[in-house]
Amino acid sequence: MKVKVISRSTDEFTRERSQDLQRVFRNFDPNLRPQEKAIEYVRALNAAKLEKIFARPFIGAMDGHIDAVSCMAKNPNYLKGIFSGSMDGDIRLWDMASRRTVCQFPGHQGAVRGLAASTDGRTLVSCGTDCTVRLWNVPVATIVESDDSSNCTAEPLAVYSGNNAFWDVDHQWDGELFATAGAQVDIWNHNRSQPINSFEWGTDTVISVRFNPGEPNLLATSASDRSITLYDLRVSSPARKLIMRTKTNSIAWNPMEPMNFTAANEDCNCYSYDARKLDEAKCVHKDHVSAVMDIDFSPTGREFVTGSYDRTVRIFQYNGGHSREIYHTKRMQRVFCVKFSCDASYIISGSDDTNLRLWKAKASEQLGVLLPRERKRHEYHEAVKNRYKHLPEVKRIVRHRHLPKPIYKAASLRRTMTEAEGGKKKEGKLIVLQEVLPLNHYVKEESSKKLSELWHYQLL
């Protein structure tokens, strides 16, 4: 007869010295864990509640401008710095960590309309309503020191004047050229005082211009004749024009999928397009209640932030759906510009009340270096919450956001209006003008070349 009974020696199961860690033994048998789903549900509920408790997205405001902030630019080489230009011509370089001005760039006589940093981060290009384009040397030394007491001012490298006021500027991603938007689209070189090239399609002012991150010779512009135009620098001509029902205030290219761009429109929506196929929008992002003023993509390409005239900043997913998050403060008035920081963790908004505000991209994120246990716990909370987020109790907590009363009222008003018209407003018109006006716009083709042929790189 062979007999064996469970016998455990205490030494094997307890620690030797008091400085050792306690021993942990795992048995993953499901029979030892009854009611797993119920426990997971309770944990999902608690995780949703904890997320709401720790949701404190506002970090701080950067105070200094004396007029509304009209535009911002990110420095691709320096994570902590952000440039901002205001309506009285004041351009400042801010250090986000200490939320102080590092450097000032005085010079513009009127409102600064556009700011862009060159790819190496050494030159800042600004344009304004005083019909000038100024190039500035970004002082690298002061950035590194980030001395609080000294507030340096820099002299412009160059001042180029044009005939009309400039509305926007953008620098090429991997090249030497930058483009300005004004009466027409001008392409400039750093060293030439006159634009090397000029594009025009129609007689209306061009409001915004953006270079494509993947294809350095492609740029998208929006004009006040409610159109979005794509230009190709290699053939020196406009390629496609897309006319919408309302004006587009800003365009942003998706840095991870450079054939897609999203346009922030006056009719409170953002439209995502595939640049190769402009017939119909890939996605309509509806959530704002007033004109969307600015849009910027996160470096991950998975979400974008929009700032709107209705005093809120919203974060959307790139492929559709309602906004994931809304940020608002009593003191933040009309938001004119927003930027996603280069590490995808922060959002900077510049608004009418002369402040730049720094927000967290994930409202309940714990900043700083996390211990591995903390990180695992956060990941577990995320995962268990995502598993049960369709259940009513969890959904109610996860979805809940406090909206300011005017926005809440405006949103419900919009909802009743659309419901009264029996579904989507535009689909009614769609039946009548099916061939000419798909959705919100129609497309004109200038060049016979297929836009898809302009893309030479492999998409991973």
């Binding site: 007869m1 009974v5 469970i6 016998s7 021993r23 942990v24 993953f28 048998d29 030892l32 309770v42």
Partner: protein, 537 residues
Amino acid sequence: MGVKQDNADPGQILPPIEQELSNELDPKLKKYLRGEGTNLEVLKDKKLKSQLSVREELYGISAKAAAKAEEWLMPSEGGYLEVEGIEKPWRINQHSISSEINISSLKNQHDIIIPDLGPYTLDFNSSGRYMAVAGRKGHLAVLDMKNMSLIKEMQVRETVRDIVFLHNELFFAAAQKKYPYIYNRDGIELHCLKEHGSVLRLQFLKSHFLLASINKFGQLHYQDVTMGEMIGNIRTGLGRSDVMQVNPFNGVVALGHSGGTVSMWKPTSAAPLVKMLCHPGPVSAMAFHPNGHLMATSGKERKIKIWDVRKFEVLQTIPGHARALDFSQKGLLAAGNGSFVQIFGDLSESQHYSRYMGHSMVKGYQIGKVLFRPYEDVLVLGHSMGWSSILIPGSGEPNFDTWVANPYETSKQRREKEVRSLLDKLPSETIMLNPSKIGTMRPVNKKEKQTKQEIAAEMEAAVEAVKDTAFKNKTKGRNKASKRAKKRKELIERVKRPLLERQLKEDEKLAKKPKISEKENALPTALQRFASKKATA
């Protein structure tokens, strides 16, 4: 890319030893997979399909990792009893085992004889380290079974009918003569639960922190021990019952009644979930298998029945008395009867229970309670003269999980565990017969509504059937044509009336609940403009 390659050639690259191991792992994988994978072929939405297939793959990977961990990382091995030749396992007694096993396990074979203080009941805490004993004459004690030391004993000078540990070894509840009391480990009386009345049996639902009790009048009480709230107060209406067990799988309390019925209860409803007739005579004992599928009941007619609780069918009937029943963690069933305890096991893994071992005590000792000790191969019997502990090889789970139950717990770990289990406390609404339904979608029940055409057809058919009935030819001037026509018309109306009334009722119902019907008839949003057009047309 690397992951793809792994999945592409599962069997070719592995060396022969590893291949054997992977063959061994497959049956173990099933245990960790928790059910069948979903059928993704039915889905038409490509995005959803790809997301779900990624998730299914992840489940497979985690199940494999768990199976491998079971294979390599478990520190202890289970007990076993192998007989040779013509020996029968049920003839082997504790004495012959004791000479074969190691000395440190011998301390688990003992008898404690306390003759004056009445039949003893007992309870273990979840890790099996601490035991609470209660003698009928008022003797309460808490013992540490690892060190075989007495922590606290006291005499409450009243009859004590039952004792349970609460979530910790720090608290226990004793069902005394008039009310149940909650005591501290130091013997301090913390609470007197007057609402429960004279309780016969107590049970503690660990994940819900509910103390369930059945009293002399057949009333079932559920009390939340965290805040002291009385969650449920149910009059069962089935009389005094002495038999109460909790199904650990779903938290349902089962009572055995003198009519032979077993009823299952949850705190939020006044009617039982299930009432099943198990025995022709009174139910004398009941036990649940830890996996929640099996239930053993014994009746006074000398039969022990093993049921499948999901289908409510008898799987096996074993002849014999049993005044006490208990399942072990590994599925062995102990049946105590008089001074003899019989242990049954499903040795061939076919869910057929056969005799495994037995133990008889001094004649005259009446066994009142049998309880397997968690994570040990020990069975403790509470009898009229004290309690005895015997060794049953192969009954306990050899490997414990520190985060579930730790026999080597320090006080710091115990405190942490208490806080964590309070955070994970389940609400009482999660007690249901099938707990895996939480988080799933309720299927839409489609009532077969008759279309208008069908209704019209039915009415026409009814009218057709009656239309040509021949009336009696009346004489003496009573057979006027107008009267005949009127009579025919009345007959048709009479046939139509019930159908019309039914139609009216359904219309009223529809008018009362507009939202639900709208949801059921909703077309996809792209086609809604056609729906409105249809209505107008």
